[in-house]
Amino acid sequence: MKREETISFFVEEARKDFSVVDKNLAAVIQEIKTIDSKKLNYVEEFDVKDVLRQFEELKKSFAAKDSKYYGKLFGVPITVKDAICVKGIESKAGSKILKGYKPLFDATVIERVRAEGAIILAKTTQDEFGFGTFATHTEKVPKNPFDNSRSCGGSSGGAAGFTAYTTNYHLAIGESTGGSIACPASFCGCVGLTPTYGLVSRFGLIDYANSLDKIGAIAKNAEDAALLLEVIAGYDEKDSTSLNQGFTKEEATLKRIGVVKDFVDGCDSEVKKIFYSKINELKKFYEIEEVSLPLNVKYALSAYYVIATCEASTNLAKLSGLRYGVQGSVEGKHFDDYFSEIRSQEFSEEAKRRIILGTFARMSGYRDAYYLKAMRVRTKLINEFNEAFKRYDLLLFPTMPVVAPKFEDIEKLSPMQNFAMDLCTVPANLAGLPHISVNSGFSNSLPVGLMAIAPHLQEKRLYSFAKVMQE
């Protein structure tokens, strides 16, 4: 990886000469126009006036040499997954029901990148509320830059698509509940870094499943992803689940790595081939052994979908067309009928499926058998990981069992086959473990991601490993 390709290099140059910021921003805005005309659908919301206003402010910062000028992201355009609130900018988590919702506040991650001199460029497309693996459960479906007839992956599809597409300096803030950063990073050949649950504040995130949601970074390289994480990580009193921990880009020594055989076994042969050829290369650097996580393979997906849909079904209850988002005519209607009408019209099939699943699993008579059991299973699965980490510094396997599929093939998948695609990404997400997806090669010109999982709060191991991968 060349130093000239990193955001840090760009920021240094920008501090010397503001025209660097100007040129980069103009080029990215031009790209957004092209993306729009080609209907690549990476961008959900783009307000050029707001971007230019930020640009003018940065110009003043450049002249005044204030704290933003010395910020780690001075002049860097950042795209934001639609589910993350940006003050005054429509933020609807890819859902029709939130059309018109302009938050009164910035999410904490937005405040933090702004304070470091970044420019909030645009909101990126996603599956509605993060409900999906292919970013197809939304009106604006992003198309894979490597092959427009294929998916970008989901749910942070627009973020990864944009990152892969742009030839300019840019960072993407994504969010993962069950794999929504790693999956699109894998399909689009980017680096997707998902932190430990609680390391990055969720304040301002439109929730999917609060005990699983993690805001993270998508970038062209590990250096940039780690830089973004460095900025957005850290305690936030506005999020009760926030940890009193930060992240600094540091190298860690890695010796022994486990390859999770159970996950590799579930992958396509082409994906396996590329994965193992990479593993062979890595053997030069690390001691690599096979490891098995039988409980996670067997139960993680089920536990995840129970917990995630239970939480989601309560989160979505507030969306009833009452005070924000879509509103209908209430005249002469009982509130129950009005709520049902709005929710029936505006939620997609997938959102309805998850609301019904989640509501069912927490109903009396089923709550013990599903919700509470899934919560107990989750603890067992975390323990299984902790046991494995006593022996291994990292765990590896392919991020996705397939390469980016064609839209026409996705349509043929049953909901169960669809959920099964998350086999590799879900366990680390359920356990709240930090993980990174890095490109490990190409199959017929389509990227194949490799996933590394580290113990809680050991993001630096992922950073070190990803740098080795990219060299």
Partner: protein, 470 residues
């Protein structure tokens, strides 16, 4: 003729009271009373997407105190849950409350009668917004929502079904209110609300929702008791269901059929973390509890030799106890203070159906009166008169009232000549007395007291009268 079986009643209460915090339960919005709708709101209590709750530690502190004062076990680890149901006053269509593990459980309260009422649990939750019905309920085709109330901290206290009559339910509410007043944990100027569960002869229970105030609780339960008895008498089976109470008509009406708790689909609120209280915290909380009514009664009996009755009357009403403490602090005679409060003050309040919240009583002004009584400067009748005047909102203190109306016992009045005049004008009574009717002496002294408006020492009057008539 068949003997009617005596009816047994089981009553359990779920009481909601506002905790007196400065900010709301999960956001920093003010809880101060305001008349401007929706002026104390933020993205959290409005339930805006992206906003998150952060627990108010003060509410936990107050909740722990309530638990301790009700002799509960405090759970060192507890958490909050989401109770999901759709209603327009719910900003998120779920309420953040406590389900599996509340802050406190398994306590009890002893009523003055000695009856023990078990407390099942006490938990903390946030209040929904207020629905405002323009021109009154059902009088317009729309409602307005005021979110100032959304997120206010409530404590819900749930009893076991130990109460045996509507009167006992009211008695319990009184005792509970007094305990909470001693603790100083409640938001001022708010009434406690109760959901009242009642069943007779071991049948199904009905729940009367949201009854506001003690008198209404007794009234609603009395009505419901009679209604259930009548139903059973008519050969009907009481089905478990929820009822509403109309305070104006005193009648309960069916609201909805059986509804079990679990339909709310409780999950742990994943936006919040487990609350863990360490041993030190609990020790400090215990140490911070003020003297409670029962302890106070015991102390009054021991320290001042009060009768159990007087001690319980004084300690059984927080405001009265507080007044007493202040008066004694200001060196007033404890015995006279107690008598003034438990006899004079309470009887005036009861007579006018007033509560302590309706009147302004200053301890220092009562101390002045106590001192006058102690110095025998005022007659009993004038004490009563000055209190009636004081409670009615007179701007004058009792002492000022007595002085202004020349009602203090005076040393300068020419008692002799007044007595001479009375003896002259009441010849019959004088004759009766001399004939051995002692009551006539009291009559004569009464006339003297009336003539002097009670401003002479009655003892002295008797002495002079006896001497003059012998």
């Amino acid at each position: 003729m068949t003997e009617e079986k005596p009816t047994s009643v089981m009553i359990g209460l779920e009481i909601h009271a506002y905790l007196g915090t400065e900010s709301k339960l999960f956001c920093s919005c003010s809880t101060a009373p305001t008349t401007v709708p929706n002026s104390q709101t933020c993205m959290t209590c409005l339930g805006h997407p992206g906003a998150k709750p952060v627990l108010n530690e003060k509410a936990v502190e107050l909740g722990v105190k309530v638990g301790l004062a009700l002799n509960c076990t405090i759970n060192e680890d507890f958490f909050f849950s989401r109770k999901t149901y759709f209603y327009p006053d719910m900003s998120m269509n779920y309420q953040i409350t406590q389900y599996e593990v509340p802050v406190a459980q398994n306590g009890f309260v002893i009523l003055p009668s000695g009856k023990k009422v078990r407390i099942r649990r006490a938990h903390i939750e946030w209040d929904p917004a207020a629905l405002v019905h323009p021109n009154g309920m059902g009088k317009s085709n729309y409602v307005l929502i005021d979110y100032n109330r959304s997120g206010l901290p409530l404590v819900e206290i749930v009893t076991e079904p130990d109460l045996e009559s509507p009167t006992q339910a009211r008695e319990f509410m009184n005792v509970l209110e007094n305990i909470l007043a001693y603790l100083k944990v409640l938001r001022p100027d708010t009434t406690m609300k109760a959901d009242c569960n009642i069943s007779i002869n071991g049948g199904n229970r009905t729940e009367i929702k949201n009854v506001s105030g003690f008198a209404a609780v007794e009234k609603a339960l009395t009505y419901e008791f009679a209604r259930q008895k009548q139903e059973v008498k008519n050969g009907k089976v009481i089905e478990q269901h929820t009822r509403a109470f109309n305070a104006e008509t005193g009648i309960t009406t069916e609201l909805r059929k059986k509804e079990t708790e679990d339909d709310y689909g409780y999950i742990f609120d994943p936006d919040l973390v487990k609350v863990s209280l360490d041993k030190d915290y609990l020790e400090r909380a215990k140490a911070s509890l003020p003297e409670m009514p029962e302890q106070k009664a015991q102390r009054l009996m021991k320290q001042f030799g009060f009768t159990e009755y007087d001690a319980r009357v004084l300690s059984g009403e927080y405001h009265l106890a507080k007044l007493f403490d202040k008066m004694v602090e200001n060196k007033a005679s404890a015995e006279i203070s107690s008598r003034l409060l438990t006899r004079e003050l309470l009887s005036v309040l009861n007579h006018d159906s007033l509560s302590f919240n309706d009147v302004l009583v200053k301890p220092a002004e009562l101390v002045e009166l106590v001192n006058l009584i102690e110095a025998r400067k005022v007659s009993d009748k004038n004490v009563k008169q000055s209190m009636i005047n004081y409670i009615s909102g007179d701007k004058f203190s009792p002492k000022e009232f007595l002085e202004k109306n020349n009602l203090l016992i005076s040393e300068t009045i020419d008692v002799d000549s007044i007595i001479d005049k009375v003896v002259r004008e009441n010849a019959k009574a004088v004759v009766d007395y001399k004939a051995g009717n002692l009551k006539s002496l009291n009559f004569l002294s009464g006339v003297v007291m009336r003539e002097t408006k009670g401003t002479v020492n009655p003892q002295k009057v008797l002495e002079i009268l006896t001497k003059k008539l012998s």
